[in-house]
């Protein structure tokens, strides 16, 4: 079980950032996206092989109207 943008997510299947991005209909080359796992930035270069630990809080962020 991990938390993807606050939502519990079972059986991630592929436990990498890239795998989780597909859950959100995002490709690994999607622009304007940043990912944090347990409060640390995961740089784009690490998306395909960064192993997401069980119980992790994964935040996938992008630009929204604001400010």
């Amino acid at each position: 079980m991990i938390y993807l943008n606050g939502t519990p997510h079972d059986d991630p299947g592929e436990q990498t950032v890239a795998g989780l991005l597909r859950v959100l209909d995002l490709e690994s080359d999607a622009r304007g996206i940043a990912v944090a796992v347990d409060g640390e930035v995961v740089p784009r270069a690490g998306w395909s092989n960064f192993a997401i630990p069980d119980g992790a809080r994964v935040e996938v962020l992008t630009a929204m109207q604001g400010g």
């Binding site: 943008n5 959100l24 996938v60 109207q65 604001g66």
Partner: protein, 290 residues
């Protein structure tokens, strides 16, 4: 339509200032009157927030009307249901993006958000907001200063949203901020500039650009900011929540130019009594004097 020539920043390399003189709004503004923040040169002294617009189309029209070249965006969770791409709109309008850390209440969260923004948008510019109170959204000065120092050390170009405190402005510049963004009044309040004296003092206290941020409700507030010596004005709600955002964006553009020109022109001193502007000599006498 967007005028790419106008959007393009003048640099020593390209010497590009054409487009400004062709712009009737800029007719009275010397083409050399450019704003430089951390080496980036801007024609427009109006920064626009993208929040609160009813649609991306309205945002795009308002950007065009405002003439702004630098617009802020927030960083939020991806919404798979979201329609249209904000980034595509900003690309099409040819504006630079200034991510903010809106919603952060601690230095730690603000620093992490800035790093995520750098990762997402490939910019090391950050409008730093660290909020200390949910009702007023006033900045938390100690956390702000801490976050600013950490981010400057990490190579960021930091533009901090701050209370209208000249001493805090100096502290933020001491740790390396590229500009300061004092508030006129709380975010979205439309209360204008509550303490114009402090804004003037901040202008005197620091040698980096001063960008009036928050509180602007209508065009005259933006003009006042520039008359007080601010180098630029940031507006968001005043435009996006106006009844006619595009008209208000146009008004803000004129207002900033007017204030800038007036500041440079040097206003007359305030006096209690009248000073006649017509000659006293040569008055006609219409009735016999005693």
């Amino acid at each position: 339509m967007a005028d790419p020539a106008r959007r393009q920043s003048a640099t020593p390399e390209n010497g590009h200032v054409s487009g400004v003189s062709a712009d009737p709004l800029a007719a009275g503004v010397p083409p050399a009157d450019l704003l430089t923040i951390a080496g980036r040169t801007l024609h427009s002294r109006l920064l626009l927030g993208t929040g609160g617009f009813a649609s991306l189309e309205l945002l795009a029209e308002s950007i065009r009307a405002s003439g702004s070249e630098l617009v802020t965006v927030a960083l939020r969770r991806v919404d798979p249901q979201a329609e249209g791409s904000l980034l595509d709109v900003l690309d099409r309008e040819g504006v630079e993006l200034l991510p903010n850390t809106a919603g952060c209440f601690t230095a730690r969260d603000a620093v992490l958000t800035a790093k995520l923004a750098r990762e997402a948008f490939a910019t090391d510019w950050i409008k730093l907001e660290v909020i200390g109170d949910e009702d007023t959204l006033l900045p938390d000065a100690p956390e702000l200063l801490k976050a600013a120092e950490l981010l400057v050390d990490d190579g960021f170009v930091v533009l901090p949203y701050m209370t209208d405190d000249p001493v805090l402005a100096r502290r933020l510049v001491d740790v390396g901020c590229a500009a300061v963004m004092p508030l006129g009044a709380p975010i979205g309040s439309g209360m204008g500039i509550r303490n114009p004296y402090n804004i003037g003092l901040i202008r005197e206290a620091v040698d980096v650009p001063v960008v009036l941020d928050a509180g602007v409700g209508t065009a005259s507030d933006a003009t006042l900011a520039m008359e007080l010596g601010c180098d630029a004005v940031m507006v968001a709600s005043a435009v996006s929540r106006a009844q006619d955002p595009v008209a208000m964006a146009t008004a803000m553009r004129y207002a900033v130019d007017a204030g800038r020109l007036a500041r440079g022109a040097g206003r007359i001193p305030r006096r209690t009594y009248a000073t006649a502007s017509s000659p006293q000599a040569g008055m006609a006498e219409f009735s016999p004097t005693d």
